[in-house]
Amino acid sequence: MTAPAAAMPRERLTGLFPFLKRYPLVAIAGVVLGVIVLAAAFAPFMFTRDPTALTPLQRLRPSSELNWLGTDHLGRDVWSRLVYGARVSVMVGLAVAALSILLGLVIGLVAGYIRWLDALVMRIMDGLMAIPGILLAIALVSVSGASLATVIVAIMVPEIPRVVRLVRSVVLTVREEPYVEAAVSVGTPLPAILIRHILPNCIPPLIVQATYVCASAMLTEAILSFLGAGTPPTIPSWGNMVAEARLLFQIAPWNLLWPGIALAVTILAVNILGDGLRDRLDPKLAKRM
């Protein structure tokens, strides 16, 4: 184990640039995502105005010098709402990915290593997986009231079982390795075995999984907002924009077009980045896909 571990970082450092050259799509996806995240972070400086300011005299205007992408049915500037809406998608995507990976990692490590807990935890995960994720999220939001925090938790809960299964499968293969048995035989305490010897093996597949969770969380947030069970309508989010624009779709289709394109491009970029990371970090999984 020590020899390849020492050789790998050097290979990775020299390999990154040729990798991006070989997969230009991944590089483009990375740049697109970088731009979206920066635009979301510096939304007030992106030539935007107050995304919630109403101008009743300027309703449903097509694009002009003043309103680049036109205005919506309340006269709000669509460009500003689009840029501020990126904040919600980026925040939900990152928060759900980070939280579900963290929780899934802890549950998966413990379940995979401690035998008697395994059956119990996995039955709970099976039950969670049997409930369609969007319905579970809808129920969680409708029970606890719509706010950004409940939306994040509601989207996170259905994502956890997949992470747990992934971590558990890694733990089950790694725990039989000689170096783990050696660590056990010299009396290394359980937390140290889990963190020092088993955790590092989980990281590469988890990074890949995190990108997929992020993409799916953005998708679910948009769907929840679209259905009226998501981000409160006072906050501009892409899902909310689509939900409001659908009522006047035949008169002003562009209001639906822009948030739709923004969603598709962002999620596409995350997915492409995930596929690239998978080919790079997890060749075994890449072969199976």
Partner: protein, 312 residues
Amino acid sequence: MLRLIATRVLSTIPVMGVVALIVFFMLRLSGDPAAILAGDTASSEQVEKIRVSLGLTKPLYEQFFGWVVQLLRFDLGTSLFTGLPVTTLIAQRIEPTAMLALTTIIFSVCVAVPMGVLAAWKSGGWIDRLVMVICVLGFSVPVFVMGYFLIFNFAITLRWFPVQGYTSPFVDFGRFLTQITLPTITLSFIYVALIARITRASVIEVLGEDYIRTARAKGQVEAKVLFRHALKNAAVPIVTVIGLGVALLIGGVVVTESVYNIPGLGRLVVDAITRRDYPIIQGLILFFALIYIVLNLIIDIIYTLVDPRIRY
């Protein structure tokens, strides 16, 4: 064989039990269930009345087992808004959803499996790349964006299909077909991506096997090699994904019905959200989870019957 099937059937009981527990505690963990069920405008007397009528004053375990006994009698509770039993509402709305799911599964399998086989056959070529692009797009474009894109182009601009609505196939089959086409394509997109990707991967794996070389060596026609020898042996993961993908399909149905104004179970959920009719949401979760579990159970049993390699 019978013993295997019986074990598999029994193994669904704990899963269903966990689903029931999750749904039961979801309502109770998030505060006072009586207040949630009564809604924002209810007075404190109304809340109290609901609390007593639901037996929320009894101990928790008694409530849970009472509720499970109710469920076993196919009683999913009563809608707060209409006062009708949830099972009645589901029965009223199930036909459009079942039809949409059926057309979507048929369409997706017919499109995705040949797509995946072709991509695997010419793996690395332009067909393969095209299929992979379609797959990534399928996972990235939100259902409603796809829906409105199709409506705008094929219903409003080209006028090939009606914009919205649903007609039962038992009333007017021709109208049913024109109205169900766009929703089916919309909902199929992500499902096609899922099935095509798995088909491609598992056919690529099988194409490396010795018996494929043998089949080719004896001069078998390439189409027969692909669809008879390769696809047949690659079938298990494909059928598994078709079953697991039903969870995705259920999420998509809710959105698609809302986009195309189809009066099915998805619309029932959306209406329940706006009216905060919690018993309907809860009942539908249980109903969809049951369908998902039973469907995957049937798929597993079919494997054991068809494929002698599978043993639990």
